[in-house]
């Protein structure tokens, strides 16, 4: 067994999360904080953890409709995340633009710029729905790693 596969097998227990706010109203960010901080939801039991640096992340959760001002920065941060990464669009804003769609300062929906893997609609989505999407993202991530069919 090569070192590469050993490292892969060790890392699958802890897909780290990274959170990008692409001009969100903070509603979805509060729900993301809820999943991490409130023991009832507790995203850390899947081995997930919010990390401070995009270079440590495996799953990236994007909130907000991608405003013109923040677009370049979001793309820069997103490209810093090492492959394989899984992108999760949290809330209706990154998925379709939501209530901000076709606004003068909106560049989204986010899949015009970034390949999205998982969508979780809601305004904001329930913490449980976000947990559902993290579990779905984890299985996609395992597929991308080549560890699960």
């Amino acid at each position: 067994m090569s070192l590469d596969t050993i490292l892969k097998k060790l890392s699958v227990r802890s897909p780290w999360l990274f959170r990008i706010n692409a001009g969100s109203c903070n509603g979805c960010d509060v729900e993301l904080a809820t999943t991490a901080c409130i023991p009832r939801y507790d995203v850390e039991r899947f081995g997930c953890r919010y990390c401070g640096s995009p270079r440590h992340a495996d799953i990236v959760l994007i909130t907000g409709p991608l405003t013109t001002k923040v677009c370049d920065r979001v793309l820069r941060v997103w490209h810093d995340i090492p492959e394989p990464k899984v992108t999760v669009a949290v809330g209706i804003c990154p998925i379709s633009g939501g209530v901000f769609r076709e606004g003068y300062s909106i560049k989204g929906p986010i899949d015009r710029y970034i390949p999205v893997d998982v969508n979780v609609p809601g305004c904001p989505p329930r913490p449980q729905a976000i947990l559902e999407s993290v579990v779905l993202a984890r299985s996609i991530w395992l597929k991308k790693l080549g560890l699960e069919a």
Partner: protein, 180 residues
């Protein structure tokens, strides 16, 4: 110190407070807004929901052959403000508590509430129209006993107006006769 011990023992007895979801059951409050549902029997296609929708998630478009219309709600744009439910004059829209909506990118545009609603010909003139729902017809004609709501609900607005005017004239003449 004693207070802290009390909390410690209570926590030991109660067990973990973490919800086992998504590997176990979770709770849904009754009033939670999960997704929009339309009752196609009640919808008249007035378009009030399209007008009031904050996120432009609802689309009503006529069929090419004019035999009805399609009603579509795109869940990925719906912000669950419930304006459609509030303003729907027929009460056709409800918001159910099913919030399991996380999905992969392939099914992004498939996440819709879609109905094809057909018109029916007017029983009198044959113009295409939506019949009034039976419950509403019964409610509207509760006062006039000689009108059959089942019959009048299949008339188009114009024919219904004529029918109502005729009925009213008949009632007035029958009222006037005993006074003589």
């Amino acid at each position: 110190m004693a207070g802290f011990l009390k909390i410690l023992f209570r926590n030991l007895l109660d067990g973990p407070s973490t919800d086992p979801y998504p590997f176990g059951k979770t709770f849904s409050p009754e009033s939670i807004r999960g997704k929009v549902k339309l009752d196609p029997d009640l919808c008249m296609g007035c378009g009030m929901c399209v007008y009031s929708c904050t996120a432009k998630a609802i689309n009503i478009s006529p069929l090419d052959d004019g035999s009805g219309y399609t009603y579509t709600v795109w869940r990925n744009s719906c912000c669950l403000c419930a304006s459609c439910r509030h303003y729907c004059p027929m009460g056709a829209i409800s918001i159910v508590d099913d919030w399991h909506l996380a999905h992969d990118e392939e099914s992004k545009y498939g996440l819709v509430e879609h109905h094809t609603i057909k018109y029916e010909p007017c029983a009198n003139c044959g113009a295409m129209m939506r019949p009034i729902p039976p419950a509403l017809a019964k409610h509207l004609y509760a006062q006039s006993k000689d009108v059959d709501p089942e019959k009048i609900r299949h008339l188009c607005p114009k024919c219904r107006q004529l029918e109502d005017a005729g009925n009213l004239a008949k009632a007035q003449t029958s009222d006037a006769q005993p006074a003589k």
